[in-house]
C-alpha cells in the first residue's frame, strides 16, 4: 500500500503536446507515477507526487514542470525565521 500525502496539492504540470516520448523522466520518479500513454507523458497518481523535481530536471524539452522543493516543516520554519540553513538533513 502506497502512503499518500495531502490530496490535490501537487504543482506537477504535464504538457503532452511538448512531450517527445523520450522517457527520460520515467526512471527518476521516486514514486514511479509517470508513464507514457501513446508515446506521451501521463501521470497515474498525482497525490503521490512529492514535488522533488527529478522529472522536470530531466525533461529535455520542458514538457514536465513542478514547483520543486523539499517537503520539510523544519526547513519551512527555518526559512521563515531567515536562519539560512535548514533543519533538514
Amino acid at each position: 500500500m502506497r502512503p499518500l500525502y495531502l490530496h490535490g496539492v501537487s504543482t506537477l504540470v504535464l504538457d503532452p503536446e511538448k512531450c517527445l516520448g523520450c522517457g527520460s523522466c520515467l526512471p527518476v520518479c521516486p514514486h514511479q507515477i509517470l508513464y507514457l500513454a501513446n508515446g506521451r507523458i501521463a501521470c497515474s497518481e498525482r497525490d503521490a507526487c512529492m514535488e522533488c523535481g527529478a522529472c522536470a530536471m530531466n525533461c529535455p524539452v520542458g514538457a514536465v514542470a513542478v514547483e520543486a522543493g523539499v517537503g520539510c516543516a523544519a526547513a519551512v520554519l527555518a526559512s521563515a525565521f531567515r536562519r539560512g540553513e535548514s533543519g533538514c538533513c
Partner: protein, 324 residues
C-alpha cells in the same frame, strides 16, 4: 591507477561506531570523506563509475554493499550531506558532477563514457545537461545501494521495485533518534524550568505540580519523536499534524491513566501533549519519503495556529492550577 585512493568494502569498528554516533546527531554535520575519485577493489579502464555524495555514512553504505566488486567511486562535494537532500539543494548537481569529472580526469582513466548515479540524485542532476557538459551518459542506478549488486549483474537495469521509494518500519526506527535528540534539546531545559517555576510559584514550595507538567512535556516529546515515526502509517489522517493529534490523544490518555491529577492540571497536560505531539510529528515530514513542499506549507498554515493555541491553553491552565 596511482592517484585515486583505494578503499575496501570492510567497515572498521571505528566506521561502525562513528556511524552509530551520527545517527544520534553527534558530529553529523562533520562526517565527510574527502571528495574525489576512489578505487574500490582493483578497477581498470573498463570498470563502472559510481557517483555518490561525500557524507561518510552514505559512502560507507555504498562500499559495504559492493563487496567483491571492482569499480570507481566518484564522491561529489555535498558538504557532508546525503544524496537526496543534497540533490534537493542542488549541491549534488549537474555542475558539481561536471567539475568532479574534469578534476578527476575520469575521461583519461576509463574507456567507456557512462556514469552510474543514484536515482535519488535526479532532483539535482539533469542527465542531458551532464552529457553536454562532460560527454558522459548518465545511467540511473537503483534507489537503494543494497540493490546495486543485482543492478550491476543485470547489466545496469533496475527492476521497477528498485525505483520506488518506500518507508518501512526499519527506516522509520533508524530516523527516530534524530527526531528525539533535537526534541529533547528543547524539552529538557523547558521541563527543568517548569519544575523550578512551580516550586517558586506554588505556595509551600511543592514539587508535585512542576514534576507532573514536566513529565507530560517529556512524555509528549518521546511520544511525538519516537512513537510518531514508528506508528506513522497507522495514525489516522494524511496530514502529519493530524497524525500527531491522534497520537497525542493516545499519549495523553496513557499519561493521565498512569498519573491521575485534578481536572485543572489534567487538562493542562492534555493540551500540552496534544500540541507537542502534533508539532513533532509535523516535523517528521522532512525525514519522510513522500511529503511535498506544497503539502507541508498547507498543513503548517492549517495546524500551527491550533498547536500554538493548545500550548497557550496548557500553560494558562497550569498557571491557574498553580495559583489556585
Amino acid at each position: 591507477m596511482g592517484r585515486a585512493p583505494r578503499v575496501g568494502s570492510e567497515l572498521s569498528l571505528g566506521d561502525r561506531l562513528h556511524g552509530c554516533k551520527v545517527r544520534w546527531g553527534w558530529g553529523r554535520y562533520d562526517y565527510t570523506v574527502v571528495p574525489g575519485l576512489y578505487a574500490l577493489g582493483r578497477p581498470d579502464a573498463g570498470s563502472p563509475v559510481l557517483v555518490t555524495a561525500n557524507y561518510k555514512l552514505s559512502f560507507d553504505a555504498l562500499r559495504r554493499e559492493l563487496k567483491g566488486h571492482n569499480l570507481w567511486l566518484l564522491s561529489l562535494d555535498t558538504n557532508g550531506i546525503n544524496v537526496w537532500c543534497a540533490a534537493g539543494k542542488r549541491t549534488f548537481g549537474s555542475e558539481t558532477l561536471a567539475r568532479a569529472v574534469r578534476s578527476s580526469e575520469l575521461a583519461k582513466l576509463v574507456k567507456h563514457r557512462t556514469l552510474i548515479l543514484p536515482q535519488l540524485g535526479a532532483p539535482g542532476v539533469s542527465a542531458h545537461l551532464v552529457k553536454r557538459l562532460t560527454g558522459f551518459t548518465v545511467v540511473w542506478g537503483p534507489l537503494r545501494s543494497a540493490d546495486l549488486p543485482a543492478f550491476l549483474a543485470a547489466g545496469g537495469r533496475a527492476r521497477p521495485a528498485m525505483r520506488r521509494v518506500e518507508f518501512p518500519l526499519r527506516q522509520r526506527a533508524a530516523l527516530a533518534p534524530m527526531e528525539l535528540m533535537p526534541a529533547l534539546k528543547y524539552a529538557l531545559p523547558l521541563a527543568a524550568l517548569m519544575v523550578a517555576g512551580s516550586w517558586l510559584l506554588a505556595a509551600g514550595g511543592r514539587w508535585g505540580p512542576g514534576l507532573f507538567m514536566a513529565g507530560a512535556l517529556l512524555w509528549a516529546a518521546v511520544s511525538g519523536a519516537v512513537a510518531g515515526p514508528l506508528l506513522l502509517p497507522w495514525l489516522p489522517g494524511r496530514a502529519f499534524s493530524a497524525k500527531g493529534l491522534g497520537l497525542g490523544m493516545l499519549a495523553a490518555a496513557i499519561y493521565l491513566a498512569v498519573w491521575p491529577a485534578p481536572p485543572l492540571p489534567a487538562w493542562a497536560a492534555f493540551f500540552l501533549i496534544l500540541a507537542v505531539c502534533s508539532f513533532l510529528v509535523m516535523n517528521f515530514t522532512g525525514s519522510s519519503t513522500y511529503t511535498s513542499l506544497s503539502g507541508v506549507r498547507k498543513e503548517m498554515r492549517r495546524y500551527m495556529p491550533w498547536q500554538a493555541l493548545g500550548a497557550a491553553l496548557a500553560l494558562g491552565l497550569w498557571f491557574w492550577a498553580l495559583a489556585g
